[in-house]
Symmetry: C2
Subunit: 211 residues, 2 copies
């Protein structure tokens, strides 16, 4: 599949495109926001395009031309305010979904979400605006008519990946970003993962055995 | 109809419940956030309940018990940050819609939105987070299965109401809050307004003649 990774310069996005390139199972195109990021990805041998989640849907649709699958791994991050949470985590995701719908050939849309995004009662006060954005991004993907997989990792760490996870319904837990990237790479294009939301924390099951 | 007004202590909400009480066509119940607001509404002869848009859907559903129509006129306002925009203007609206769905007897959900909330290209930079919230609140109401009317007024003023408006598709314009309140009161329960989004600016058409 031709896989389009939105947010390829993010902490998980970077590990995802690297893994996809190493695996060689899919052709990966990285979408990044800045020219210097594009130059860096190009220098490292990636197919890469500039794209702006604060721009219009039509431009995103054109950037997705020829793609079969989309991974939304973008996020405004912890260093910006709730205004960017609205613009990137919610509306940037919404525009990506709309662009995929308009594309007409996207067979799989994989959303990087967050553990418990579906359950308002579980949101810590300090993180509520972020969870509101993720919650509604997930919901609009579910209602989009696209084949989707929503991946909901627990608290992200920079620990080394183990290749082992737990995808049962869980209420809390940690997971290395490397394993999130590996899991995303695993589910792309997998029929068994279609139209599911999957919790993800560290565990004892090899990623290849999960789904 | 028994009409439930969410955000009854807001600038438009206050004028709406006053008008509904004067008109006598509907029975109005005001939802407010604080005890002192409840006391004030009670002292002025209103049916009033406490309700918290940052609380859970079940409590909102219980507050809507016995109601036939809901008006969402709440907003976090300009003095708070984008975090409250996410929690109130988006997720508070979403919870109100979910509570109305769960209620099962709500025949009409009227959403106070904003002119051009449907058109990202029209959003001024400084107001984008607000419009993202209104945009997605409108969309999830449209997809809720409830009979809805979305009212999208232009720039709000404190001018005296004229009783005359323009509901044609317009790109810009002003409108007194008093006329927005009068228009909301007019559309509640009107079959002709069902499942429509209506722009609203000042104009030459008597509100009763619009729809």
């Amino acid at each position: 599949m031709n896989v389009f990774v939105i947010g390829a310069n993010g902490q998980i996005g970077k590990q995802l495109v690297e893994r996809l390139k190493q695996d060689g199972k899919h052709e990966v195109t990285a979408m990044v926001r800045k020219q210097e990021q594009l130059d860096e990805f190009k220098a490292n041998g990636y197919q890469v395009v500039l794209g702006d989640l604060e721009g219009d849907v039509e431009t995103l649709k054109q950037a997705m031309s020829g793609m079969d699958a989309v991974v939304f791994a973008a996020g405004s991050g912890g260093s910006t305010g709730a205004d960017k949470t609205l613009l990137i985590d919610l509306d940037g995701a919404a525009k990506s979904v709309e662009a995929a719908q308009a594309n007409g050939n996207i067979k799989h849309f994989v959303m990087l979400s967050a553990l418990k995004a579906e359950d308002r009662s579980a949101w810590p006060d300090s993180m509520k605006p972020y969870y509101v954005a993720k919650h509604h991004a997930d919901r609009l993907l579910e209602q989009s008519g696209l084949d989707y997989t929503i991946v909901r990792p627990g608290a992200l760490t920079d620990d080394a990946g183990t290749g082992k996870v737990n995808v049962d319904n869980v209420s809390t837990g940690e997971i290395p970003r490397a394993d999130v990237a590996a899991f995303l790479a695993h589910v792309i294009g997998r029929q068994e993962a279609a139209n599911k939301a999957i919790d993800l924390v560290k565990g004892d099951t090899a990623i290849e055995e999960t789904i």
